[in-house]
């Protein structure tokens, strides 16, 4: 088994223009499973907080009877955080403000199926 089972998913995401980091994170633990980061980025911090945010968004949507969260986006002056969930894993992308969110969304949703497949093999 590869030491980096999610590398093809993460590489495809970080190839997108203005994407600065991509991480596979355990939703329950908020721990990085695998990541593509730039020097100086704190993967652990982003992972813990983004996973917590995604989990709360998922639970809020469920409580409001909205069904499953398909895509979560957080917009801040310095950039965006996008996340999608697959099983117990969350795929998180950090990007600069100029990023094409539509493209990132398509890539993330496409990656979820692969994430579930690889996650199933790893488990």
């Amino acid at each position: 088994m590869s030491a980096r089972p999610f590398s093809s998913i993460l590489d495809a995401l970080t190839r997108q223009r203005w994407v600065t980091a991509a991480l596979v994170v355990s939703e329950r633990d908020g721990i990085v499973v695998e990541s593509n980061l730039q020097i100086g980025q704190s993967g652990d911090r982003v992972a813990a907080l983004a996973a917590s945010l995604y989990r709360k968004a998922r639970l809020s949507a469920k409580a409001a009877g909205l069904g499953a969260v398909s895509f979560m986006q957080l917009e801040a002056p310095g950039g965006r955080i996008c996340a999608v969930g697959g099983g117990d894993l969350v795929l998180v992308v950090v990007a600069e403000p100029a990023v094409n969110v539509g493209l990132v969304r398509v890539e993330l949703l496409r990656a979820v199926a692969e994430l579930l497949a690889v996650g199933g093999e790893v488990a």
Partner: protein, 157 residues
């Protein structure tokens, strides 16, 4: 649930940790087992037991780390069905402390580790100058000091 501290400078950083990490229980102690601060405990006897167990686990896991890896293990995590325990050493200008926290499904190990780092930094920043420190806990005064600290925490001082 109320937080109580033996020394006032601990309260700010510990309160921030409890709020940010969503911890249910938190305990800061000297590696000897002397309690310094608690959050979420209702009874002195529970604090006393938790301190004794945490100090014992910290001592044995440190030694296990030294035997296996040449240096002590710094953190320990145990995930239960609904609650999890995180136990780690917090270095400060006043020496090493042991920190124990219990958290539920509202939090996560990642968040706890993240805010534990901030707690350590907060304690380092808030610690009074070293010359103002009272002497270390001595074995012959252990029970007296423990009873005094528990009395301070649970309002019987």
């Amino acid at each position: 649930m109320q937080m109580t501290v033996v020394e006032a400078w601990i309260e700010g950083p510990l309160k921030r940790f409890v709020v940010d990490a969503g911890a249910e229980l938190a305990l800061l102690l000297h590696p000897s087992g002397q309690v310094l601060a608690q959050h979420g405990f209702a009874r002195a006897v529970d604090v006393m037991s938790a301190c004794a167990l945490a100090a014992g686990i910290h001592a044995s896991s440190s030694e296990l780390g030294r035997q296996l890896d040449g240096r002590p293990f710094r953190g320990l995590h145990h995930a239960g069905r609904t609650r999890q325990i995180f136990l780690a050493e917090a270095q400060s200008p006043r020496g090493a402390f042991v920190f124990l926290t219990v958290f539920g499904q509202e939090s996560s190990l990642g968040l706890v580790r993240l805010y534990f780092e901030e707690l350590v930094n907060g304690l380092a920043a808030a610690a009074p100058p070293v010359e103002a420190i009272t002497g270390p806990a001595l074995a012959e005064h252990f029970e007296r000091d423990l009873n005094r600290n528990l009395a301070v925490l649970f309002g019987r001082a």
